[in-house]
Symmetry: C2
Subunit: 270 residues, 2 copies
C-alpha cells in the first residue's frame, strides 16, 4: 500500500487506528478453543468487529511463532482475511546482517504479503536496506519504544545532548523518505513527540502504548500529528480482549474500537 | 547447558568453534533437493561432518522462517539431531516488550529446547529479562556486531567517550552474571576486544565474522580470550558451503571445520 492510499483512508474513515492482533491463545474466549484454528477464528471475528473503525492491523509475530507450525498457518490465514483496504504490519522487530535481513524481507514481503514490517535499528543500515528494496512496502523502524526498558539505551546522549533515538531518526530518514519508512514512537513518550516532529516532519509514526500501557491519545495527537495526520495509533489488548471470556465478545471489541475511532474523529475535526 | 559443562567441552575438544547452520536452500548441494526435507538432510550431514571439531551449533532462524511451516519443522528436527554435548544457539536476534519477550522465551527455550538465544538490546531490560528466568539457558546479547552497519549506532559516544556498545556491555552485565549471559562481538572488531574484556572479563563472547566476513581468528583469540578461553567463534558459510554443489560435500565441510579446530588447538596450547 502506498502513502497516498493510506492518507486517503485515514481521511475517509476519520481514523488513524491500528488494531494490534496480539492474539494470545491463553487470553482468547475459551469457547473458541473448540474450533480447529482458534487463533484464526478469534482474529476473523475481531477483524469483522473492528474493520470499519481502523485503517491498519498489526499482528505481533511472537504470538504466532509461539504456536509453531499452526501459528504460522493462523498468521497466513489472518493476513489473507484482512481487507486489502487496510495496511498490514508484521510486528516482528527483526534486524540482522545484510544477507540474513534479505531473507527476512523475503519472508514478510513475498512469502507473506505484508505491507510493512517493524525493524530494530541496532545493527544499522545493512540490516534495514534489504527491506527498502520492495515497492509499496514499508519499514517501520524502532526509535523510541513504549516500555520501561526504553530508558536503558534509547536516551543515551552524545556530547551535544542528542539522544540515541534522535540519531536513529535522523540517520534513518537519510536512508529512505516518508513513502517507505515510518518510525515506532511510544505513546508513553508523548513529551518527546514535538521534538521528534522537528527531526522527521513528514514520516508516519506508529504509536503503540495507548490503552493497556497508559499513553494519552489526545497528547499523542497534539504533539505528534502533521499536515496529513502522519500517525498510526496502535491499541492491542485494550481492544481485542475487551470482551473477556464471553461468547459475544465481538460487541465489546467493536465498542472499544469505535470509542477510539470517535475520539480520533473528534481530534481530527478540531 | 551450564557454564561448567561448556568450559569443560572447550578444554576437552581443544576447540571453541561454533558452526553456524545458515542453511540457505539456494546454496545447498542440488542433489539434496530430491530429499523430502532438503534442509534437514543438509544439516544432518553437516553435523555429522563437524561435530568432532566444534562445541556449539547456531542455526540462524531467518533461514528456516523463510521456508514457512516446513522450515520450522526442519529446525526442530535439526535441533533434535544435534548431540546433547553441544551448545545450541537460536540466532534469532529477538527483542520486544516484556509480555511479548516472554512468549519468545517460551518459543525458543520450551517449545524448542535451545540452550541459548541471541537478543537485540535496543528495547532494554524488560525485553531481556524474561529470557533470564530459565535455568541453564543463556541470553546472548548483541553488543558490537560484525557488519558494516555496526558503525551507524553502536559507536555513538556519550560525553565521556563511552560508546553505546560499552553501555550495553556494562549495563547488561549488571542484569545477569557470566553463567547466564554472553555477548555478541564481531571478529571484524578485534581491536575493540581488549577494552571489551575490561568491561566484561568473565562473560563468554560469541564472535561471528571469522571466515566469509574476513575476521582474524588469531587476533580474536589474542585480544578476546580469558582464563577459561571465554570465546565461541562462529563460522557459517565458510564451513557449511565449503563443499560447493557436490555430492561428497561433507568431506570439504569436515576439512574446513577441522582446519579451524586445529588453529584453535594451536592457539590454546601456546
Amino acid at each position: 500500500m502506498n502513502r497516498e492510499t493510506l492518507v486517503r483512508s485515514i481521511q475517509t474513515k476519520k481514523s488513524f487506528l491500528c488494531v494490534g492482533l496480539d492474539s494470545d491463545l491463553s487470553r482468547i474466549p475459551k469457547f473458541l478453543l473448540n474450533y480447529p484454528d482458534p487463533i484464526f477464528e478469534f482474529n476473523r471475528r475481531v477483524i469483522d468487529a473492528t474493520k470499519d473503525y481502523c485503517v491498519a492491523y498489526k499482528p505481533n509475530v511472537a504470538f504466532y511463532e509461539a504456536l509453531g507450525t499452526g501459528g504460522w498457518q493462523a498468521l497466513a490465514k489472518t493476513l489473507d482475511y484482512i481487507p486489502k483496504t487496510h495496511l498490514t504490519i508484521a510486528d516482528a522487530k527483526r534486524g540482522d546482517i545484510g544477507n540474513t535481513s534479505r531473507l527476512y524481507a523475503h519472508t514478510f514481503f513475498s512469502t507473506f504479503d505484508f505491507d510493512a514490517v517493524t525493524i530494530a535499528p541496532y545493527m544499522g543500515y545493512d540490516s534495514v536496506s534489504p527491506f527498502l528494496e520492495f515497492d509499496d512496502k514499508w519499514v517501520i523502524l524502532l526509535a523510541l519504544t513504549s516500555n520501561a526498558g526504553s530508558k536503558d539505551f534509547q536516551f543515551l546522549q552524545d556530547n551535544e545532548g542528542r539522544h540515541l533515538y534522535e540519531h536513529v531518526l535522523g540517520k534513518a530518514a537519510s536512508w529512505a523518505d516518508a513513502d517507505k519508512l515510518m518510525f515506532v514512537v511510544g505513546a508513553t513518550q508523548a513529551e518527546s513527540l514535538q521534538q521528534i516532529r522537528n527531526i522527521v516532519p513528514d514520516h508516519f509514526l506508529l504509536v503503540p502504548g495507548v490503552g493497556a500501557q497508559g499513553g494519552s491519545l489526545e497528547e499523542v495527537y497534539r504533539y505528534g500529528k502533521n499536515a496529513e495526520v502522519g500517525l498510526l495509533v496502535n491499541a492491542s489488548r485494550s481492544i481485542i480482549f475487551a470482551g473477556g471470556d464471553t461468547e459475544d465478545f465481538e460487541k465489546s471489541v467493536s465498542d472499544a474500537a469505535r470509542t477510539l475511532q470517535q475520539e480520533m474523529e473528534s481530534l481530527m475535526s478540531r
